[in-house]
Subunit: 336 residues, 2 copies
């Protein structure tokens, strides 16, 4: 069944791609199997993160950018975090409706992801869905995330260019921007720039960005757009392309891909480590014992946690021995 989807996927079947995405969204061993099978085809797409508060116009911008890049012959994938229906768990259309422009075009693949579930899961899942679109051969992938708090910084793990979308709201000023948003931005958009205060807002933003010393030599530009009319979209695409050229020219793109992979590997490994740890009967019992000691006031949670991890050993002996045996074998064959 899965292999069936894989064959179809490799021949460019969008329905198969959607099915594989659903498998990956559900997670578990089957999801791992799919991602492992697709892995050799990944690593070619260019990933653009679009982040900003709800209502900033991210979806409309993605829609406009999609049209722009489609007109240049590039294929596009979109992975978007969506508000979910309060109790049904189904995705609410809302912003997505505006994306319908792109429907019917096989060069555009849009996937919404429910912003519920485990706290670490979302950006991980979004990255995995982007991986599938990558393996599917999409040239560009937009990752649309709600940027608040710490979550948005996570898109950096997989986005090559991060676009921060802001709106000039009366009463807000640039100073009150969340630092998380400021720090991740490589291109800044002041959307709804037809509002009267847009000019002052974007000027303030530019001054503030000037104060930031660009560690990597890239000075983030500010682009004013009106997503609903398409004003400023070409300039925005232009800035995104410039950033891509910049990354390409100094080897940063490869570095970013490698960094993303390293982060990914670390997190995957940690997940497996935790799974391995908590499913162990001895550790489970140990947690229960520790809890009762903490509750009775005999230990602090910190002391107790130290004790729970105590029986962990990293058995390198076995592996080193194996290596030695291997090495000896080689020497035997070569020298004698």
């Amino acid at each position: 069944m899965r292999d069936d989807y894989l064959d179809k996927f490799f021949s460019g079947d969008m329905l198969a791609a959607a099915r594989l995405m659903s498998i990956v969204e559900r997670g578990g061993d089957e999801a791992e199997g799919v991602l492992t099978a697709l892995f050799p085809r990944m690593g070619r797409s260019y990933r653009i993160g679009m982040t900003g508060l709800t209502g900033a116009g991210k979806s409309t911008l993605v829609n406009q950018l999609t049209k722009h890049y489609r007109s240049k012959g590039l294929t596009v994938g979109v992975v978007a975090e969506d508000p979910t229906s309060p109790f049904s768990g189904g995705a609410i259309l809302g912003d997505r409706v505006r994306m319908l422009d792109a429907h019917g075009d096989a060069g555009v693949f849009i996937r919404s992801i429910a912003s519920r579930g485990s706290e670490t899961g979302l950006s991980e899942k979004a990255t995995e869905l982007a991986d599938i679109l990558d393996a599917f051969g999409r040239d560009l992938i937009f990752l649309e995330t709600i940027g608040v708090g710490q979550l948005e910084t996570k898109i950096r793990y997989s986005a090559h260019t991060t676009v921060v979308v802001l709106t000039p709201d009366a009463g807000d000023d640039v100073q009150s921007l969340k630092s998380g948003l400021m720090e991740v931005g490589e291109v800044f958009v002041v959307n709804k720039a037809d509002r009267p205060i847009a000019q002052r807002y974007s000027d303030d933003l530019r001054s503030m960005l000037d104060l930031r010393s660009p560690g990597d030599g890239w000075q983030p530009p500010v682009v004013c757009t009106v997503a609903t009319t398409g004003d400023g979209i070409d300039e925005l695409a232009n800035k995104i392309d410039s950033h891509r050229t910049f990354l390409d020219a100094n080897g940063r793109l490869e570095e970013k891909r490698f960094e993303a992979l390293k982060n990914r590997m670390r997190r995957l490994t940690e997940e497996k480590l935790k799974e391995l740890f908590w499913e162990n009967e001895y550790i489970k019992k140990s947690l229960e014992t520790a809890l009762s000691e903490v509750v009775s006031g005999n230990k602090s949670p910190y002391q107790a946690a130290d004790e729970i991890v105590m029986p962990i050993k990293i058995e390198k002996d076995k592996i080193e021995k194996k290596d030695k045996v291997k090495g000896r074998g080689k020497r035997k064959g070569g020298a004698r």
Copy 2:
């Protein structure tokens, strides 16, 4: 030096409390030392989580509720997530200014926490700061968090009553609420209820909450407030108190405290586990090797991650259940 602060802290010195909080915010061994020392005094405060989007009026509500509870003779602590200045890292006053009402009253202790740093760090730190206020003897502790995406669900780990603060904005409707917010709420506030659409909004919210089958027998009430004028604050406090009484009456409060402790223990243990793991030289090398194999396309990240955790052994278990540990690669763990 630290012991000096501890002595002063135990005698009720607010400055010492502030210093200990700074130590805890920095983290590390010293932070653990402080929390371990204070641990025996924790577990008496009642914790109220206030969550909602930026601009919903959470701080003003906390301010009003603080006045309310102070007038009843209860001491109050507040731990608030604050937007931080974009580049300085300093806390922007903004909402905090309105909290100045409470300054000069030794019965109120307000602590802002910068919403930057590691993605897992924030709610953990907020909980630890609340723990200090708890050990300091505060009767009530407000945990004010920006509720978007998954983060807000974390406050459940330590809040006994979670208040979700909403505002009736034109164009938004209740249906578009993020499910995360709906699911964590035990008391709902429609703030800025002087807006014309407030009535319809709160009616819709009530109908929607009615559809939710309360697993624990508590039906979340909806309270309309105008935080700036104080309208509805007494009713809100009333509902919070009712929820507390409800929890108390059926043993749920103790359960919640235990659950919070258990979650905490698990996360603490995981932190220590990860630390132990990644600081191991062999594992570090193993990650590097795995990465190059993944980059060269010889392995998928999933296969590689499996191999990195391979040398992990849980000592006591190894002796007791040797064959199960051996069989770990194939079957899902040695768990029965």
